[in-house]
Symmetry: C2
């Protein structure tokens, strides 16, 4: 009876491999494909190993949410503090890209309709709030000088964020609904950036 050799990884390595496979399955097979047997199969390990590392299936999923959330926040932070001398509108554009790409919108969609066990409210880290707190006055200084400019800046950020999330989720289906050119739809982010410029002028 030939027993195939075990592949031993460090605990950290195993967790990383598992989460990577889990994310790929979520991307390609949807929520239904996110079970320990399938994920373990993709990693070439037994499902018992997955449970060993994450306690149970819910633990694996929560770890995946935490992992994806961490990268989402890191991407947002990177977009907000990119050097050199960030132009506010460029930062908004990068914020849009960071939110709409890389499956981040899908993560938020998952948190919106997935198992309730997942959405144990993950508070945004203080670090991120500080970054937004820094962006707001910079943006506000560029706005026309009537009314509450800080509130106006926040609304602009809010617009960028919602549009990016909607774009990440439905951006592929929408064009056909309104007979819009694919290329035109792909150019939407850039166009939105110009509109923001116009609104700030």
């Amino acid at each position: 009876m030939s027993v195939r050799p075990r592949k031993r990884r460090s605990s950290e390595e195993a967790r990383r491999e598992i989460l990577q496979a889990a994310e790929a399955r979520l991307r390609e097979h949807g929520l239904a494909g996110l079970n320990v047997v399938a994920v373990a199969g993709d990693c070439g390990m037994s499902h018992a190993t997955v449970i060993h590392h994450f306690g149970n299936t819910a633990g694996m999923r929560q770890a995946l949410v935490a992992h994806m959330t961490e990268r989402l926040l890191r991407d947002i932070i990177a977009a907000l503090q990119r050097e050199p001398a960030p132009e506010p509108t460029a930062m908004l554009r990068q914020l849009f890209d960071a939110l709409s790409r890389g499956g981040h919108a899908r993560l938020l969609a998952w948190l919106s309709i997935g198992d309730e066990a997942l959405s144990e409210d993950l508070e945004p880290p203080e670090h991120l709030r500080v970054l937004f707190a820094e962006l707001v006055p910079v943006l506000a200084a560029r706005l026309p000088g009537h009314g509450d400019r800080e509130a106006a800046a926040k609304r602009l950020i809010f617009l960028i964020a919602t549009a990016a999330i909607g774009y990440g989720i439905a951006g592929a289906r929408l064009p056909r609904m309104i007979s819009m050119d694919e290329a035109e739809a792909a150019a939407f982010p850039e166009w939105l950036g110009r509109q923001i410029d116009q609104l700030m002028a």
Copy 2:
């Protein structure tokens, strides 16, 4: 042995009851709560009855998607053809409301990450495309006269749609991220309407 009396409904009635319960479960328990046993329990019937009416679980889910999609499209259509004499910007505002309310954004999120079996591409009905085709020139006529105004109108619709979907999905979480007032966030749709007015001026 007392056998509790059976409640007999018409086929149509049963389907409606089941889909109603299924939608409630999706709203309250997420995707995990969407199985035939639980749905049947909420309806006070056996799960075999549910399967009898929809063939299998996937049939029930597809019927639910179809049902929710139908209502979504009906809401959009109602928003686009509301009388009297629809102002283009008012129509855009109503389009925003129609998309962001009533769990429609959640439906799209579900289609985005749910079982792949669900998203067997439901083509938008010709009726809706016609309505958009009517809206576009009306909107285009209001736009400043340089460049391709039809394309510009479509981009505006696209912006409204993406923002509405993002608002429906993440509108509850976003404000805390950027330290935004709840009331301020609730006023976002109205503000967006004014911005659209400004972009069209």
